[in-house]
Subunit: 352 residues, 2 copies
């Protein structure tokens, strides 16, 4: 079923049908438009978007380039992208670099990495995507890694190029608020488990924490500051160090949920209880953090919204050639659960 068929059935030319299809109302009389439209509906006509974009050389296709599709955040972000796409007549094609499996130890081999990306971006382009949303694994800084002449939006990752449009979330402010709350309740007895030193989000979260200390006129006790690599075991280790230091410890802000679980395990291993003896706040709100024992108080990152906003920004770029929003920063929210119950039991809202 093509434009031509519709045209024949309606007794008009293909041009006319094309006009009504594209809502060029001023080019076609109301009655003809109505007739054509009704025929389209009757035969359930679906325009061939491929031919359309071939001819008009502009496409309503969003390319999504993921560093690794299997990181748990990816599907939520992509759902946000498809949500926007479906509500705005875009379609989305996916390309997965599968970095975790492909380069593993070469993780820092920037050249191999660049080649992978270039190939994938080229393939995407040959599929006539109008632009690309790059979905990072969020730690690495991906300055200038993507070489292409179509618009790119960076989601859940960071670039330091000012002209890049990127959408992320507010690591710093939510951390400041959480640590403020913790300091107010537990004073000196607050610990922190940091992420890896190269991680941009970890640095931002620590900056927020330090701001909270400064505002409280307090100093961070270096013995109550551990550091991990985002993995479970490293959370246990860091927690062990803090516990062994002998300083009073009533609460720990752990910069991700996995390390928080590791920390909880270490605490419980020593016969201490969470939250009665030590409270724990994590970061990420992974899907199971609600179901562990004790359930985890943690920061929910607006993943779906990140995807949605990234798609919206790309669409704007595609349609207007530019965006105002270069740096979209979305707010997070603390989700109160058992590992750190809200003060006095009333769940005050902590949100950035």
């Amino acid at each position: 079923m093509t434009l031509k068929d519709i045209a024949a059935m309606a007794g008009v030319s293909v041009a006319t049908v094309s006009y009504v299809l594209n809502n060029k109302d001023h080019k076609v009389s109301a009655e003809v438009a109505a007739r054509v439209r009704s025929i389209m509906r009757d035969v359930n006509y679906q325009p061939n978007t491929v031919a359309k974009s071939l001819r008009s050389s502009k496409s309503r296709i969003i390319g999504v380039l993921t560093e690794d599709l299997s990181v748990w955040q990816a599907s939520y972000i992509i759902q946000g992208i498809t949500h926007y796409a479906e509500s705005s007549g875009y379609s989305v094609v996916i390309s997965d670099l599968a970095m975790k499996a492909k380069i593993q130890s070469y993780y820092d081999d920037i050249y191999q990495y660049r080649e992978l990306i270039d190939t994938a971006a080229a393939k995407l382009k040959s599929n006539q995507v109008g632009g690309i949303i790059f979905l990072g694994m969020h730690d690495r800084n991906i300055n200038g890694l993507i070489q292409t002449d179509i618009p790119v939006v960076y989601a859940y990752c960071s670039t330091s190029q000012a002209e890049d449009v990127q959408v992320g979330y507010d690591n710093r402010e939510i951390s400041r608020k959480i640590v403020s709350m913790l300091l107010e309740r537990f004073g000196e007895a607050v610990g922190i488990i940091d992420g890896p030193i190269q991680s941009a989000p970890a640095r931002l979260r620590m900056a927020g924490a330090e701001e909270a200390y400064a505002q409280a006129g307090m100093l961070m006790n270096p013995r109550l500051r551990g550091s991990g690599n985002w993995e479970y075991e490293s959370g246990s280790r860091a927690c062990k160090g803090m516990l062994d230091s002998g300083y009073p410890l009533k609460a720990i802000y752990v910069l991700n949920d996995l390390m928080a679980l590791g920390a909880i395990r270490e605490i419980q291993k020593r016969g201490l209880r969470v939250p009665e003896d030590i409270q724990i706040v994590g970061f990420d709100d992974m899907s199971l953090s609600e179901y562990v024992n004790p359930s985890l108080t943690t920061v929910r990152v607006p993943l779906e919204e990140i995807g949605y906003e990234a798609a919206a920004a790309l669409a704007e770029l595609l349609e207007n050639g530019e965006t105002q929003k270069r740096l979209i920063c979305l707010g997070c929210e603390l989700i109160w659960r058992e590992s750190c119950p809200p003060p006095e039991g009333l769940p005050i809202v902590i949100r950035s």
Copy 2:
């Protein structure tokens, strides 16, 4: 950069360039082919796949239609699909029904459901996908719900239409083996927490369990058989019922990880220990099941492989017009962890 440009640079016609692009070796002399190829390489030529599929009216695009992208299994399966696609020159476009948010309580309103699917499938078709992989939420039976004239492969869901090609995993056999192992070790003191009655996989898992009982010449104690709705709370409830029955209980096979966590919580609440007092085996190997306390012994479903095989089957359908494999059933494996340690400490392999 188009075929025409390449042709001009090589001093040949577009037809010739097209021949070498498509490796029609017998239609073009070796030297011309070599010259053209080197030019293509020099200018980094990327054929326009859209124009290609428009002209040849066959596409190397796989449409993935997900019932809900945010269920945790989806991203692994899709990674399998993209893995196959990338290694075989296909691209993949995604459409998400987002059923969880869109129809919620209308979950069983088959008509609204069908309309959603039809719309999505039509959109996919208008994007010129060659075929569709339908990614189910796995419980529902989706007989004849997809109406389209392009090939469809059903992944992680079930159809009872014999002519449909579907790829799933072996619920029954792995369950039989697990329950056999449990009966051998704990005799009468084995409980089971079932899934919802309408669930096809739950029925298969129960069938495997019953087979194990039959082979052992034993009968399932109805008081040690609970039933849930896959959710955490229902696992606690079912476990409570079994514990309250007063029958000796040394191990429970819980048909998914979430309910298994609920069951563990109930057990611990009563001051009993897992695995010392009661052992637990789950099903799914969700990403966090490794990190809960105690870590969960559970069944790993070959999600990536399901995606890969589904894509391979679709590709075969697209390229040959048919497949031998109508019903691809992949094996699962029991992952030994703390909640049910391997007998005698040596991790025997239980795999279907």
